[in-house]
Amino acid sequence: MTDGAPKSQTIAVVGGGIAGITAALEAAEMGYDVVLLEKGPSLGGRVTRLNRYFPKLCHPTCGLEINYQRIKKNPRIKLMTMSEVQGVTGVRGDYLLTVRKTPRFVNANCTACGACAQAAETEIDNSFNYGMDKVKVAYLPHEHAFPMRYIISPEVIGTPEADKIKESCKYNAVELDQQEETFDLNAGAIIWATGWRPYDASKLDVYGYDSSPDIITNVEMERLAAHDGPTDGKIIRPSDGEPAKRVAMIQCAGSRDVNHLPYCSMICCLASLKHAAYVREQYPDAEVDIYYIDIRAHDKMSSFYERVRNDPGINFIKSKPGHIVVGEDGRPLVCGEQIIEREIYQRPYDLVVLATGMEPSRAPGADQPVDVEQDEHGFLIPAVGNDGGQFSAGVAGGPFDVALSTQSATAAALKAIQAVRAG
């Protein structure tokens, strides 16, 4: 090594979603040491909450499963869950990351037997299912969790219930005295794969998200259709559990709107086409109306669009609805102008799905401990900072579907390798 060679050749990957997983694996399989930091208790991010992928309607589980195997088998990857980056100092080749690790209260002895969950009584909102159902305070993040390990929610710590949970574990895996800790980490390059969150549908006041349980978002629709979701995969009206057979998809709910997200979120058209297919698969007599400004199904996605369009049970209505209200019978009423025919409509539905867009996790106003260079919407620019050692991957850098996220993650891994090799 010459002078000015990187002090550290380790690549830190921040975020354990599909982009972070991909970047970590690509770099590690090229022979570089990687630290993969995930804020939550398990990997997979938003992708693991999808029921199926578009356009092939295959399950994300199998791809994730393969990736988890690759991580397990690769000694170069050090995975840290419950770990959030609090600060970054230094320059390319010699960064110091300050990481805060929050306690899981369950150690590696855990066999995921579930005895702790049986012993627990208190229930909390299940964030994996976007709060649509409950879990016990001792819970497995979800059935495909990696690492396959339970977690105990902090609110129960210090109560007799926590002691009961500890006693129920035959493997000595429960550690109620775990404390939050902060530690430093050296890295030569950083890949930010901090991902996205669904735009808050409550901000779309004219679409009445808070006024009816039968007005849901597209990410909730994924959970509703998933076999491990709150309804065991049955697409029903959340208000009364009846089958949802008249369903409306509202495109651009927040996206392409200067009052909300001025950009196109890219995935929502395809997601709604997929959701229409879910409904039609479950109910042969169902009818789905897709309200759209224009359908953005490019390149290889257009054949999926054609397939859905040929389904006589799916109608495409060119219109951005003005508002959604709750009708006298309690069903949501979608109101607007059908623009081709110039017809003012008011139609009742069993279920209305708002195709809310993608907001970067680091959106303006979000509580973000580390100041990383970003654009006006909170997306990170591809090469973060001027020192050439930090890169964005996946939706942290802009709205992407899964395929593009993995491509950008691979690109980021290559850039990071170049950064730690540079003299």
Partner: protein
């Protein structure tokens, strides 16, 4: 005054009218942002009472349909509730465009027989003369602007209501009520007219 309207083109999709709207109508410079999503017309509380609605009016402006736009009832049935403006995903001041198009329709003689325009003129006459709307005079002026016989007919038809209002003290007899400082109002309006004329000159 506003620049003269372009000739109606033989070509239905001539851009002359769209350019004129861009340059002469308040908010017209934002027209090109419209993506025809329909949120404005779909939000309009009286959308079913309009022949075209705001979204289609914008499409018609772009298509160069000058006469159809300026004689549309959409300009007159707008109540200025501003829902379209608030909800427009592209930030287009839809209400301003519609309202100013109504003013242009009057200026260029498209609204001579529009009842809404005649009522608006009566309303403005009373407001600028007295600083208040006098129900009797606004109504009488409006009715008689529809023609002498129509004025008599509508006046008689509403006589019972008018007498009832007088009896219950909802309408007074005698001189119209004025605001205290009518001279001040006159000066304000005169200055506003001056500014408008100056701005028109600047644009030339």
């Amino acid at each position: 005054m506003t620049a003269a309207l372009p000739e109606t083109a033989e070509n239905r999709y001539d851009l002359g009218f769209a350019r004129w709207v861009r340059d002469n109508v308040e908010g017209g410079d934002k027209l090109s942002l419209c993506m025809q999503c329909g949120a404005c017309s779909g939000s309009c509380p009286i959308g079913t009472q309009m022949d075209h609605g705001p979204r289609k009016i914008i499409a018609m402006i772009r298509a160069g349909m000058k006469d159809e736009v300026l004689s549309s009832n959409t300009l007159w049935n707008c109540t200025s509730c501003y829902r379209c403006t608030v909800r427009c995903p592209r930030g287009i001041p839809v209400t301003s465009i519609i309202q100013d198009l109504a003013a242009k329709a009057v200026e260029f003689g498209y609204a001579d027989k529009k009842e809404n325009a005649l009522f608006a003129k009566s309303f403005w006459w009373s407001t600028s003369a007295f600083g208040r709307t006098d129900e009797r005079l606004v109504t009488a002026r409006y009715y008689f602007s529809l023609g002498f016989l129509e004025g008599i007919r509508r006046g008689l038809a509403n006589l019972k209501i008018a007498l009832g209002m007088v009896r219950t003290g909802r309408m007074h007899l005698g001189m119209p009520h004025k605001i205290k400082d009518i001279k001040g109002l006159t000066a304000i309006l005169a200055r506003a007219a001056e500014i408008e004329a100056e701005e028109a000159n600047d644009e030339l």
